[in-house]
Amino acid sequence: MNSRNGTTLIEIVMAFLILVIAVLSISGLISFGHRGTQKDFRMVQAIQLMEDTMNRFLVASCSQLLAAVPGTTPVTFTDKLLDIPLGPVKVGANDFTVNVTLARQAVSFSTRELDIVSSPPEYNKNDPATWRFSGPTDRNGKFDGVALPYRVVKIHVVVSWTELLHNIRRQVDAVSFAVDFTP
């Protein structure tokens, strides 16, 4: 029987099969990674959109924001408000939905007021040793719509989108406050 050195057909077929399996696995992995990258890219776009929308609300007139929320119940806006685009927004090839919820926020501030009446007779405005303070009071600091008008608006921005592959709804959101500083 003659024995020759070389590669048999079975070896070549086996090698080819292993190579095919390896290449297919790697291409699946690359495809998975690509989908993941696209998903992350959409999330970054959504974060940027959310930040931009919130910044627009923070520089808007707070008195106009207060006027947009007539009662104490939070109001959700899905259409343009104060020229700030809301609702469906297209960024590049991706579609997002931007909603904002505004609510009047009651805040209460307490201080110890300088009590000149109960300060000693040698009261001197430059000498803290002669000062007397009242107990903590929020007498002049309740911006709750009763004692004083509301001055703070709570802003909640939500940006949502759909991941096409699995049809999953995703969202990012942020909260901040606008304050009316008018005297």
């Binding site: 590669t7 070896e11 070549i12 086996m14 090698a15 080819f16 292993i18 190579l19 399996i21 390896a22 290449v23 696995s25 790697i26 992995l29 690359i30 998975f32 990674g33 993941g36 990258t37 992350d40 999330m43 970054v44 974060i47 930040e51 919130m54 910044n55 923070l58 926020q105 805040v107 209460s108 501030f109 307490s110 201080t111 110890r112 007021e113 300088l114 430059n126 803290p128 040793a129 000062w131 007397r132 303070f133 903590p136 002049n140 600091g141 911006f143 001055r151 703070v152 709570k154 802003i155 909640h156 990012v172 959101d173 942020a174 909260v175 901040s176 406050f177 606008a178 304050v179 500083f181």
Partner: protein
């Protein structure tokens, strides 16, 4: 021999693929950290505005509270002061809204903690103050504490001279 070469190539591809997967799996946590930082930045901006509203409402009380605190921090002067508990400055910056004391204030978000501190940087008695408002904010107990500083140069003008 062919099998050995192919197995070598397959192993190399496997190593490349696993390193690619590992790189990809790290990008998602990074995105969540970016989101967390943006949420913290925006929230701190709003909280600074609320703190500024208090200063604008009670500039005299802030001024007196600061000067009392300066004297209190001096061990010699402290002996001449009336020992208030809490001190006026602690009352001034101790409101629930300034110290994460209102659970629903920032819902549906949640933070691990935030605090507000006022500092008088310079002053011209009763006429001009330079004030710093510092918000320390930590979104989760594993996040770093972010510090946000707002400096305000305030002039006081009598409304009824």
């Amino acid at each position: 021999m062919a099998l050995v070469i192919v197995l070598g190539i397959a192993a190399a591809l496997l190593v490349m693929g696993s390193s690619y997967l590992s790189t990809f799996s790290q990008s998602r946590p990074v995105n969540l950290k970016i989101l967390e930082k943006v949420q913290a930045d925006l929230l701190a901006t709003g909280l600074q505005k609320i703190a500024l509203l208090k200063f604008k409402r009670f500039p005299e009380d802030f001024y007196h509270a600061c000067f009392y605190q300066f004297a209190w921090d001096d061990p010699v002067k402290r002996t001449t002061l009336f020992p208030y508990d809490p001190l006026p400055l602690d009352v001034f910056q101790g409101d629930l809204v300034l110290q994460n004391g209102i659970p629903d204030l920032i819902s549906p978000l949640s933070v691990n903690m935030y605090s507000t501190t006022y500092r008088l940087l310079s002053h011209k008695a009763y006429t001009r103050d330079s004030v710093e408002i510092v918000i320390n904010l930590q979104m989760t107990n594993t996040s770093p504490v972010h510090a946000y500083s707002l400096k305000v140069d305030a002039s006081r003008i009598p409304v009824n001279p």
